[in-house]
Symmetry: C2
Subunit: 455 residues, 2 copies
């Protein structure tokens, strides 16, 4: 009798509630600050760009929030996602550690982003939204939202940073297959885009410009709302389905992890995997659990940033958020893990790290890809560059366990597949890939641009 | 209580035996003919390029053949694959038909090809093979074999048709991630390649040239063998795991299909899905089952070809095979479903069609892509161009069921995902895609090149 590799749940085992980390924080979150008034952003202000049910979730401190049946029904297209024991990787490393991973790459859009996209599209549909605008960089969020909008009959408009639009045409095509309108940003669709193009017709675009275009799109169209794929509390909430499923699966395996690992960009993926376990650390049932956020050396906000109020975007359009940040003016190097190139960490993740309930580790790009190739050769699955940071951190912990001779149980989240990232693998395999690290001095220079918000 | 979408089996439910269609043929297969001797190819001749256990399977008429535990163990990386009820598609079509599909796109290499690649790599390992050479066109077989060889510690050498090597760099990179040596064919690695390059340094290559290079590689290296991803009996045998799993899953759903559909290139995918059901048609338990091979209008061997001896490759290196063929000199148009561009149908599929145990339908490229986009928007999954031919055929049957008002049960195989085929989707969505059909006259012209083999 061979050993099992996968732990599979039935569709009926898809969790019926999301876990809200806000209920268990040692101290409540600091409010978002409206930069124009200098005062906490009101619910009405948030409702100008988000539908009310989403704003309610953003502000809620209820521990458990019901997942609507319609959302669970769409989740069933790919959920529950498998939990897999990486037995081949364990053997290759010759480690006494057990390595488990949750495979979120099985979603139609190829990453965990669909978990929140489906929920956001549903609540928008219920609130009467006819059009959702968003921005996307590498395109994972854009494709997840495009697919989600199609499921609930909502028009989807994506402003995609022009350099990605041109360099990653496949993500753009995938969004179009799902019926979305995709514009290279800066575009002529908006006043903000036209202004940029007037000054510089060849502008490559940036996430900051794309956010401005998406928000202008929302306020200039009827029944239009905005959607964001990371950072915010409601996104973290929706993603907890990952960790909640993983807990059930680990229980079936007769295990509880000593270490939980996920990569960190804006924070949605780390929140999703780690929060349901950190709940147990807070309530005392698993005090010794370690939760590790694997961040890229090109954008190390938890490890080298500060915990302070900052804007969510380069242009300062968004409310100021209390978070670990490298400053909204910090320009991360152009690493292939585009989803990790964000200057700040979600307020919930930041609060958890500040309270020493989670830790961070810094991974160099080449180390991440070395781990990715090892993983693909052992387990078959080609990981996304973002997820490869988590794999590297898991391998590092498994090798420490080997040195210590301890049979630790390690669980990491494979946030997505790398089928659209083979150019990056090519660069790694041909020896052309470089690391792009920042010194504390370089970070400190950007930190001078933090906004002055009275706390 | 919501309805289930997926029917998931446990790892212990992975079949323990493959089904050998040769056991149940109305008349035995005609032998392969050695073109140099004009006589049936002997076992010793076949063993020059294939390991003995594979040759034994090729010639076996045993009904059930055990799947080695080591092969089942690797299968567990992704098998059992899910059977999914396409409820959203049914609603969209407003059909009384139930549409089920088996998703083979969940394999690490992204298609059903891994089912045979793993088995072939295993038997080669047992037989002492140190190096496997193969050719690949679009790259699905090459990536499946590269991954399989890595699992069993065998060196993998892939001769990839140069035009694909250049136009589809992602498939090449994937093979390299799995550790394979990939050469653009014609290459300077072989005498055959060098000869071609001498005459035409800019030659784009062809599957025929690549086969010559792979076979030369085998005979000029120690402990080297050749591997083929379709057409042959042992490949069809390994693929029957698809249909055997699907039967178990349909039974759990309380169903038996009225119609089973798969696309047809060389025949491995159709064999895999259909043979275990055709067994029931032959033994009389399900006499009315219809098995439909969906072939592209650009390469309609079952519908417009003849049943005759022909070579497997353009250059006439391979033994002559009795099969439905458009002739080895037939040049299919450059459709995006590269995996369906083969002039012949596997001898087993051909025998089954000749005996009227299966039928064929011809699908135009644009019809296939229209179905693919509809499917992606309903079910989330982006299908491979090849698989889209099966989807089109399934939709056609579901619409006939609607006209007739009959609640038929339709089952098709989704042989792979389309993550590496977004250029093709781009071409379809932008309205630039064309159909490439052949008239019977054009086919008849090629058929004049059939070899003269006494039967």
């Amino acid at each position: 009798m061979l050993e099992n590799k996968k732990i599979i749940l039935a569709e009926k085992d898809i969790p019926t509630q999301w876990y809200n980390m806000q209920a268990d924080l040692p101290t409540p979150l600091d409010p978002y600050i409206n930069p124009r008034t200098g005062k906490p952003a009101t619910k009405d202000e948030l409702c100008q760009i988000f539908p009310e049910p989403i704003v309610n979730q953003e502000l809620s401190t209820e521990r458990w929030i019901d997942i609507p049946e319609e959302v669970r029904d769409v989740y069933k297209l790919w959920r529950p996602s498998p939990l897999i024991r990486a037995r081949n990787l364990e053997k290759f490393l010759d480690t006494p550690a057990k390595i488990y991973f949750k495979n979120e790459g099985v979603s139609p859009s190829g990453s965990h982003k669909s978990n929140s996209a489906i929920a956001q599209a549903y609540y928008n549909m219920k609130a009467g939204t006819k059009r959702i605008a968003t921005e996307t960089g590498a395109g994972q969020w854009g494709s997840a939202l495009a697919m989600a909008c199609k499921m609930f009959g909502i028009e989807c408009v994506v402003y995609m940073v022009k350099v990605s639009f041109q360099q990653k045409p496949y993500r753009k095509s995938l969004m179009q297959v799902y019926g979305a309108n995709v514009f290279a940003s800066p575009s002529v669709q908006t006043e903000a885009g036209r202004k940029v193009l007037e000054k510089d017709p060849n502008c490559n675009g940036s996430l900051g410009i794309a956010i401005s275009e998406a928000i202008e799109d929302v306020v200039t169209h009827q029944n239009a709302k905005y959607a964001l794929g990371s950072v915010l509390n409601h996104v973290a909430l929706h993603q907890t389905i990952i960790g909640l499923e993983a807990k059930k699966q680990m229980e079936i395996a007769g295990e509880y992890p000593d270490i939980v690992i996920a990569c960190l960009g804006g924070g949605s993926n780390f929140s999703g995997m780690a929060f349901p376990f950190i709940m147990d650390k807070i309530n005392g049932t698993h005090k010794n659990l370690r939760a590790i956020a694997a961040e890229p050396s090109a954008c190390p906000k938890l490890s080298k940033g500060v915990y302070a109020y900052d804007f969510g975007d380069l242009s300062g359009f968004t409310p100021a958020i209390k978070m670990y940040t490298l400053s909204h003016t910090f320009m991360p190097s152009g690493i292939h893990a585009g989803g990790l190139r964000y200057h700040g960490a979600s307020p919930l993740v930041s609060a958890i790290v500040k309270a020493k309930l989670a830790e961070s580790t810094v991974i160099k790009q080449t180390e991440a890809f070395e781990a990715a190739v090892t993983f693909a050769r052992c387990e078959g699955i080609l990981p996304a560059p973002e997820s490869s940071h988590a794999i590297r951190a898991a391998i590092n912990e498994a090798l420490i366990a080997k040195e210590e001779g301890k049979a630790k149980t390690i669980l990491f989240n494979l946030s997505g597949h790398g089928h659209f990232d083979l150019t990056a693998y090519d660069s790694y395999l041909s020896g052309n890939m470089q690391d792009c690290d920042f010194s504390q001095e370089e970070v400190n220079k950007a930190l001078k641009d933090l906004p002055k918000i009275a706390e």
